[in-house]
Amino acid sequence: MTLIQNIPLDQIDFSDGTFSINFMPDLERLRSSIQEMGVIQPVLLREKPKGYQIISGFRRIGVVQGLGHTGIVSRVIHEETEDLKLFFISLHDNLTSRGFNTVEKAIALEKLVDHFKVNPVVVTREMLPLFDLERNEKILNTFLSLARMEEEVKRYVLEEAVSRSNIRKLARLSVEDRNAAITLLTALKLGENSLREILTLLEEITKRDRCSVRKVIDLNEIQSLITHPELTSTQKTERVKRVLMDLRYPRMSHLEEQFEKKRRGLSLPPTISLHHPPFFEGRGLRIAFQFESVAEYRSILSSLSALAEREEFEEMIRGGEQAPNPKHPTTNRFK
C-alpha cells in the first residue's frame, strides 16, 4: 500500500541509480510544465532505513531540485517489495507517460538481464514487446551491446538515430577502435547509408591490414580532410569516403586511375563522355554524347571519327591486358 506525501528532497538518495534508465533526457518541456502546473504525477519512492530510494521519477526530482523546491509529492512504498517488481512498475510508469529513447531501452534491457538476472529467453519473449520491439534474440543482443558501449558512442547513436544494423557494426569494433571511429564520424555529416559504408570500410581495411581504426584515421589524407577549414561536412564525408574506398580497393583504384589518364589523353570535347564497363567486367567501352543543334551533332561526329584513328583509343577498346603490376600500390600501408 502506498501513501502520497510530500517528501523533503534532502531525504532522497540521489546516488542510488538502481532503477534509473535515463539517458540524455529532454528536460525543457518537463521543466516548463512543472513550473506552470507543479508535479502532477507523484514520483515513486521506497522507504529505506536512511532516506528514500527513487523507483520512478528521476527526471521530475531533478527538475524540482533545479527549480529550488525543497520537497516533492511522492507515493511511498513502505513494505518489502521485490526489486524486479518495482522495476516493472517504474518501466510501466515511464512507458505510459513519456516512452524511452533507443539508449534508454538498451539500459532497461541490460538491467533486466545483468542486474535483475532475468533469463534472456524470457526477456525476449515477454519484455521486448513492452518496448515495441519484436521478439527476437538478435534484437535483444543488439540493445545489450549498445548498453555496454561508451557514453560518447551512446550519445552519437541517440543524436544520429543510428539504426540497429549500424549499432551491430559499432559493437563489433573494440573499445579503442570504436572511440577512434566516433572521432571521425562526429566530424562528418552521415546519413544511415553513409554511416554503414564508412563503418564497413573501416572494419574491412583494419581487418585486412591487421591494424587499428586509429591508424587509418590518423592518415594524413584523412586528417587533412577532417580539419579542412573550407570544406563543408558533406564535402568532407564524400572525400573521406573516397580515401577509404581507395584504401579498401587499391587495385580497382589503380585501374580507374589508369583509365582516367588514358581518357584525358584523348582530349575529348566536353560533350563526349567515355566509360568503361562497370567494374571493368565485360568488354568494350561506352560513349555518350549530347548536342543541341545539327552543327553540334556534326562536330561530335567529326570528333568521334577522328577518335577512331587514335591507336590509344583502339588499345582502350581491346582492354589492353594488364600483367600484374610489380609496382602496384601495396594493399597494406600499415605494415
Binding site: K207, R251, L255, F279, E281, G282, R283, E321, P324
Partner: protein, 370 residues
C-alpha cells in the same frame, strides 16, 4: 562421419509413417523427437534466435516435399553454365562454410530431409526416361553436401544403386567429406561421379568449418578411384588471399601426386562469387572470416566476383599447373563469361549448350573406357 551432432529431430506428423523417417529415428535412437503439425511456428521460432542458421544445422526436420524436386541448376545469367540438374533430397548442410550461399537463400534454416523418397525416385525415373538430346547429369550437392547425412540415412547409397540400374543419366555426388567407406562396395557401373571441392589447408581451416581436411578429401578420392568411380575435382571457390599462389600450387601438386588423373572426369575452376545478400549474413555469423576482404565487385549477373584480371590470372596459373601434370585434363570454368574463357584457354564454348555437349563427350569416353 561428419563431425556434427543432431540435437533434436522435428518430425512432421504427416511424415511420421514414412519408412525414411522410421529409418532415421532408428539410426538416432538417443536424439529427442518432437512431432510437429504445422512447420510455420517452428520455423518462426527458429528465425527469432540470434543465429538461426547455425542452430538449424543442429536440428533435423523430417517432412514431405510437395512439388518438383528435380530442377535444372539455375546457373547464372550472362555467363556460360554446364547444364546440371539438381536433386533436392536434403536441404541445408551440417557443415558450415563462411561463404556458403545457402545462408542467404533458405527460408527454412533447419537441416531438412524429405521423407517422400519414393516419389523423388519416380520423378528422377520419369526424367531419365524422357528422350533427351543430351546425357543428363544430376546431383545432390547444390543444396547440401552430398554425403553429409549418409550415416543417418543411406541417401547416396540408394541413389548410386538407382543410377547404376539405368541406361541414361549420371549422378554426381559433391562433397567436402573424407568418409566414403559406405560407397566403396557398391556396384556403381560408372554411373556415379564422386567429386570433391578442394582448397589449401589454411582456407579450409579458416573458411570451411566441420569439413574434412584436404588430405582426407584426397584420400577419399583415391579410394573411390580404386573402386572404379570416376572422380571430379572442384577448385571452387578459388580464393584470392595472401599466399594464394603457394597454397594452390601445393594443392595441385598433392592432387597430381595422389590421384590418377586419367580417372578424373572433370575439374572445375570457379572464382569466389556470392550474391549481394550473403556478405552481411556471413559477416555477422563469421566476424573473423577474411574471405570477403578481397576486391570483389558486382558482375553482370549481380553476383560479386574478383576483378576480371585477378580471376584470369588465377585461372591461368591453375590451368598451367594442372596441365603440367596432365595435359588431357578436362577443365572448365564455372559461371564465367565467354571473354574470360577466351583469355584463359584461348577459346570459349559458344554457349551453355555447347559446354553441356562437351561434358557429354567427356562422359562417353569414361563410360566407354577410353
Amino acid at each position: 562421419m561428419i563431425p556434427f551432432q543432431i540435437e533434436k529431430i522435428y518430425l512432421d506428423e504427416k511424415a511420421a509413417g514414412d519408412w525414411v523417417a522410421q529409418a532415421v529415428l532408428k539410426s538416432l535412437p538417443h536424439v529427442p523427437v518432437e512431432e510437429v503439425r504445422d512447420k510455420k511456428p517452428l520455423i518462426k521460432a527458429l528465425l527469432s534466435k540470434e543465429d538461426p542458421i547455425g542452430l538449424g544445422k543442429r536440428n533435423l526436420f523430417i517432412t514431405r516435399f510437395y512439388g518438383k524436386r528435380l530442377k535444372p541448376c539455375p546457373g547464372t545469367s550472362n555467363h556460360i553454365c554446364c547444364g546440371y540438374h539438381v536433386i533436392n533430397a536434403l536441404t541445408n548442410c551440417p557443415m558450415d562454410c563462411s561463404y556458403c550461399v545457402l545462408q542467404g537463400y533458405l527460408n527454412n534454416p533447419f537441416l531438412t530431409l524429405y521423407s517422400n523418397w519414393d516419389e523423388l525416385l519416380l520423378e528422377i525415373e520419369t526424367f531419365l526416361s524422357q528422350n533427351h538430346s543430351f546425357l543428363p547429369r544430376l546431383g545432390t550437392g547444390e543444396l547440401s553436401d552430398s554425403l553429409a547425412l549418409d550415416s543417418i540415412f543411406p541417401l547416396s547409397q540408394t541413389l548410386v544403386s538407382f543410377f547404376a540400374e539405368r541406361q541414361k543419366g549420371i549422378l554426381e555426388l559433391k562433397t567436402k567429406s573424407g568418409r566414403v567407406d559406405h560407397l566403396l562396395d557398391l556396384d556403381h557401373r560408372g554411373r556415379t561421379v564422386v567429386s570433391w571441392s578442394v582448397n589449401p589447408p589454411q582456407m579450409i581451416e579458416e573458411e570451411e568449418r566441420r569439413t574434412a581436411p584436404l588430405a582426407g578429401r584426397l584420400e577419399a578420392a583415391r579410394q573411390c578411384l580404386e573402386r572404379g568411380y570416376p572422380v571430379g575435382i572442384h577448385f571452387d571457390p578459388l580464393i584470392h588471399h595472401e599466399g594464394w599462389e603457394k597454397g594452390y600450387r601445393e594443392v595441385t601438386q598433392q592432387l597430381l601426386d595422389r590421384i590418377d588423373t586419367k580417372r578424373i572426369a572433370w575439374m572445375s575452376l570457379g572464382g569466389f562469387r556470392y550474391p549481394p545478400q550473403l556478405k552481411g549474413i556471413a559477416g555477422e555469423r563469421f566476424p573473423q572470416a577474411r574471405i570477403f576482404l578481397g576486391e570483389l565487385f558486382p558482375g553482370r549477373d549481380g553476383k560479386f566476383r574478383y576483378l576480371k584480371e585477378v580471376r584470369i590470372e588465377m585461372y591461368r596459373k591453375m590451368v598451367e599447373w594442372l596441365r603440367q601434370g596432365d595435359p588431357d585434363l578436362f577443365i572448365y570454368l564455372c559461371m564465367e563469361s565467354q571473354e574470360v574463357w577466351e583469355k584463359v584457354f584461348g577459346w570459349a564454348p559458344k554457349n551453355s549448350s555447347h559446354l553441356n555437349h562437351l561434358f557429354e563427350e567427356r562422359l562417353k569416353k569414361f563410360m566407354n573406357g577410353d
